[in-house]
């Protein structure tokens, strides 16, 4: 690829990763009340795990001092046990009248979503600046 916009690989990988994270958060929020998922068990909260990958560079020397792209390592299911809520009239109530609800708290998910959206906007600003820098460079020496 032509190396015109500096740092574009990091930024596009980050935009992707943040968008996936937003997708996961919105799925968690949508399933806050799902007591019976596809496997018959209550919905298990999902979480993304970021990891940074060293960009393949021709002159990258020590690990950690070259620009690193980020990628989603995996989307793992949270191991929190479902919380039991007393609701005997619920169709999924067990013998004691307790329903197993997913352990998803809306404020926590909202905080995640805000963090993801701020990171997304920050990376958008980086791309805009990279483009502005490239356009300025192209007009070097011209009136």
């Amino acid at each position: 690829m032509i190396n015109i916009l500096p740092g574009i690989d990091s930024t596009s990988a980050a935009l992707n990763a943040e968008r996936i994270r937003m997708d996961v958060v919105s799925e968690n929020i949508a399933n806050v009340n799902t007591t019976r998922g596809l496997d018959g068990k209550p919905y298990q909260r999902e979480q993304v795990v970021f990891e940074s990958v060293l960009q393949a560079q021709q002159n990258s020397d020590a690990l950690g001092s070259a620009p690193q792209t980020v990628q989603i390592a995996r989307i793992e299911k949270d191991q929190r046990p479902p919380i039991m809520v007393y609701n005997p009239s619920h169709p999924d109530a067990n013998a004691q009248g307790m329903v197993a609800m997913p352990d998803i708290s809306i404020p926590e998910e909202m905080v995640d979503m805000i963090a993801a959206s701020r990171a997304f906007e920050a990376n958008l600003a980086v791309v805009k600046d990279a483009r502005a820098m490239a356009m300025e460079t192209l007009s070097i020496g011209k009136h």
């Binding site: 500096p6 574009i8 990091s10 001092s65 690193q68 980020v70 920050a122 820098m133």
Partner: protein, 126 residues
Amino acid sequence: MIDALFSQPNYLAAKKMLDCTVLRHEAIASNLANVETPNYKRLDVAPSFETQLQQAITTGDPQQIASTQPELAVDTQATSGRADGNTVLLETEMMKLNQNMVEHTLETQLVSGALQKLRTAITGQI
């Protein structure tokens, strides 16, 4: 002989600083991309480059200026206030992004101005 046209210390220093700002943008892009990655340490242009370049400018030797080379290094000054060992702070990074952008504009104008002055001197026309 043509090299004498382009060996003014100011011009060479402006070119080196331009290299530095482009490299720093890559570092900032990497930092902002990894703002949520656990144990990521923030990158920046190595501070030894700045000191080298300042020294070279005070001596005014074109060869010395041209031989400085900016490179990326892990920022050892950054402290991690976060639980996941990540040393990137979003607001600080955005400020550095803005500052770097303005520096880049400055260096581009310096380089461009030098080339335009040369052209004017050579052709005699503005």
